[in-house]
Amino acid sequence: AQSVSQHNHHVILSEAASLELGCNYSYGGTVNLFWYVQYPGQHLQLLLKYFSGDPLVKGIKGFEAEFIKSKFSFNLRKPSVQWSDTAEYFCAVIRGILTGGGNKLTFGTGTQLKVEL
């Protein structure tokens, strides 16, 4: 089935550690890619997005993600995490127009990140 996979469901890191969260999708053709974050008690917020161009995209709060088309991946990275990065992170995909994507976001199951002091 076509889907979005996030392989790490729970990640625990110490402050200043580096972070990489995996995201793979199984759609062919053009895709738009997103990472959303949900901090405790808050609503989903856009972290970063890729539509076209440079496959390395930078988002808010020092996060970045790299689109590797050949691997169907869009992994999220941050060189040094902070306690305030504790949150749930969701990868999401919109399929291209020609494959009927419209504006439907398909989400992964999420990764719960806990950063310890």
Binding site: H43, L44, F90, G102
Partner: protein, 113 residues
């Protein structure tokens, strides 16, 4: 700048009842989408409305319906509630119909007893 707003924030219903959830998009946004987020999972697409017309529907039963008003606000209706409908219902808005960044509201948490 007001973001997406949703009401109510929490709701408790019993099986078989009907519920209506409301959403106001960001000013200037014409597209509203609804998502269901069950605990431990990512949001799942229910509907998209644009210019008062349904533009997309997810894999949900006909008990779920929605509409969009001339001011672009939207309502999601769920009839004959089941226990499995307990979830966080999210509304997202975007300026246009396709290939757009969506901005989410805080959600309505529905508990069906």
């Amino acid at each position: 700048d007001t973001g997406v707003t949703q009401s109510p924030t929490h709701l408790i219903k019993t099986r078989g009842q009907q519920v209506t959830l409301r959403c106001s998009p960001i000013s200037g946004h014409k597209s509203v989408s609804w998502y269901q987020q069950v605990l431990g999972q990512g949001p799942q697409f229910i509907f998209q409305y644009y210019e008062k017309e349904e533009r997309g529907r997810g894999n949900f039963p006909d008990r779920f319906s929605a509409r969009q008003f001339p001011n672009y606000s939207s309502e999601l209706n769920v009839n004959a509630l089941l226990l499995g409908d307990s979830a966080l219902y999210l509304c997202a808005s975007s300026f246009s119909r396709i290939q757009e960044t969506q901005y989410f509201g805080p959600g309505t948490r529905l508990l069906v007893l």
